[in-house]
Symmetry: C2
Subunit: 434 residues, 2 copies
């Protein structure tokens, strides 16, 4: 199906200008993939959406996903010191056994930075859902995304508990992927099929966010679902490993939200054999495909980065170790000067040299090699004599930019993904009052 823009008509509280940007209407990002994938049913996963009117009119903004008894959950949550109440709740629940019976997500109000009143509002929705599902409150996972600093009116959500739990369906995926959006310009989803020890399993996921870049309104949320039979500790280990090379390797503007949440649910209905440990050879395919799916979702978030006109892949090799390579790659990816140079289609590799230098990790200035669009532009710590700058510029005029840097000291490597920094970013984040 087509990625039609999500209506974002705002009807919030007068005078709260932190909400104004919700009124912006915007074209789909030029970097968007053509369509949402065709989501298959995943045995044990049931979904439904509803329209609460908390912020938006004319669209669903509440998602409920239910799981059978025995489903496991793993998760990674923002490391922000000002994390939201829902994030803290999920963190506590993950620590108490990792059984999940339901996920509830509302879009439009992050219920973050709202003190005790925010906790009370959240727990009232959690209790209402646990009662309908017939489970413990610690088996409920909850996310809220939207405005910071306004207490969520929980009645607007609890009033839909009866309806939404009655509507649960195995085919509610596209509506689910849309219901969680806020400032996104397109819905984000990915689907994979693989096997565990020869038994077919499916993995599907959806995400929201225009990067980790709009913590007052939009945040990064991602949910992955599989019918594999897989214990919490193994799922957590796979999720950590895959997230390091996907969601933790993307950046739009270096701003980390108070609500970032990545949850993976496994219903255990596929009938694969018992997996003994995270290194079990039966998991080889699953591990690879799981990571591929997470990377797909993460890259879709970058492709919806606020104001983005180019998708940028940055690979660093020759660093002291993989960690150092990632620090350097992120220093390049977060540099406003590198990002504006790429927006301007300017082969300004001096700024890449600068960003390598400021990263603080070991780099041999006199062995630094920079490659742009496959062409080496510097080696031995200086420009390659007579390199073809026109070819470099042609590459930068495209939408998919590939940069690699060898820092000449070791065997560490990492790849990260980002977007450029354009007038669109300033428009969205500074000018929306005008």
């Amino acid at each position: 199906m087509d990625n039609i823009p999500v209506p974002r008509l705002y009807t919030g509280i007068k005078g709260k200008n932190i909400d104004k940007r919700m009124t912006r209407t915007e074209k789909i990002s030029p970097l968007a993939p053509a369509n949402l994938p065709d989501f298959p049913e995943i045995t044990g996963v049931m979904l439904a959406t509803a329209a609460t009117g908390v912020k938006y009119q004319g669209r669903d903004d509440l998602l409920c996903v239910a799981f059978p008894d025995g489903a496991t959950v793993a998760g990674l949550l923002t490391r922000s010191k000002t994390s939201s109440a829902p994030v803290d709740f999920c963190r506590r629940n993950l620590a108490t056994g990792g059984k999940a019976r339901a996920l509830l997500v509302n879009a439009g109000n992050a219920n973050a930075f709202t003190g005790k009143a925010g906790d009370v509002a959240m727990m009232s929705t959690v209790r209402a859902l646990a009662k309908k599902i017939g489970c413990e409150t610690h088996e409920i996972y909850i996310s809220s995304t939207g405005v910071i600093g306004e207490v969520l009116d929980s009645e607007k959500i609890t009033v839909h508990m009866d309806e939404i739990t009655r509507m649960l369906s195995a085919s509610g995926w596209p509506a689910a992927a849309r219901a969680i959006l806020t400032t996104d310009t397109f819905a984000k989803g990915a689907v994979r099929r693989t096997d565990i020890g020869g038994v077919p399993v499916k993995i599907s996921g959806f995400a929201k966010g225009s990067g980790m870049i709009a913590p007052d309104m939009a945040t990064m949320l991602a949910y992955v679902f599989t019918d594999a039979d897989i214990s919490q500790d193994i799922l957590q280990s796979l999720l950590k490993e895959a997230a390091d090379k996907s969601f933790n390797s993307i950046t739009v503007d270096s701003d980390t939200s108070t609500s970032d949440t990545l949850l993976a649910f496994a219903t255990g209905q596929a009938g694969n054999g018992r997996i003994k440990h995270a290194g079990d050879p039966a998991l080889a395919n699953f591990r690879m495909v799981f990571q591929d799916l997470l990377l797909d979702l993460a890259q879709q978030v970058v492709r919806d980065g606020e104001g983005a006109s180019k998708f940028i892949e940055i690979t660093v090799t020759g660093a002291e170790d993989d960690r150092a390579a990632k620090v350097i790659a992120m220093s390049i990816a977060n540099s406003p000067l590198v990002k504006t140079a790429i927006a301007g289609e300017d082969a300004n590799w001096g700024r890449i040299v600068m960003a390598v230098g400021k990263a603080g990790e070991a780099a041999d200035r006199d062995r630094l090699e920079i490659t742009i669009g496959g062409q080496k532009v510097t080696e031995y710590g200086m420009a390659v004599p007579g390199y073809d700058e026109a070819a470099c510029t042609r590459h930068l005029k495209g939408r998919e930019i590939v940069i690699s840097v060898d820092v000449g000291v070791g065997g560490g490597a990492a790849t990260v993904w980002t977007c450029d920094l354009t007038h669109g970013y300033i428009d969205i984040n500074a000018d929306y009052r005008s």
Copy 2:
């Protein structure tokens, strides 16, 4: 005298688009101070400038400052791992006794990332100047600022050595402050008078830079001169202390240059008594005034931040210690979302909460207090009921923005200074091709 714009006519090498931004002409920053100060003569400091034509036409771009035998020098240099040849040279010289007989600065070519050829070019100018002055090469301090990646044509500089050393004068200060500029929109200087143990001493300084934000072209350079009699180790200690609360407490866009240099020279001609150690009570006034002058220069650099329309002071209190407070303050100052909100005159304090959270230092979300323009807008981890948002917006419509944040965990405090992030920044750094 008035701060007239510096002509920036570029005549560089065809096809090197990394130079294009030197062609931009630009109005003086709206945040600029009215005038350069009236520089007094400082006994022992002699200055001269010349026009080399390395990059610019119609303006002086080479500065020479000479000091008498016995002058001391202290310095702080960029921690970039890709630092320039001149930075490395100054670092070596500082480690070998800290005697200075001359400073040479050229604007238009940073002689950075130019391999061995860059070293050779630099040493040829150093030797030419040492011969004219009659000193050792390790008594020469050198800075180059401008384009990265082009070897400096040293002959264009050495040909002026005779002329520039003959022209040295005690009154050459305003010309000196102008000769070192690149993309700056105004010249930056500061002057103070104080005493050491009752003996009058003078301190003057000048700086260049539109922040640490344009490492291909402009970098932060600052030079401070005093007639005080003060040993290198004590001067270094004072400089480190003062820089931590001035140059190391400013940011424009978080990008650190390959050439950042701060040097302090003391001619020893004031006739003050011997200072025994950095804690000597006779230094109390000097220490205070020295720091005040460095802060003045550092704030002028922020006021010339690329595209800046607002000067922002951010104070963090209640942190675990002063270091943690500075990390949090810098996290706020470098957040693109905070900077764009202020550009948009939007009292979006949710973004400040986010920036505190992502800093990684201890903060008590439920005791967080944010004050904007003197008005407390959050306390107990949520909005102050009924705070006057109109007053907040009025404050943000001004040019001088004051924000303070108490994170509620300890006694650590720090203040940093930055500017907003505007379309002007994107214009300068991405759009100059068009």
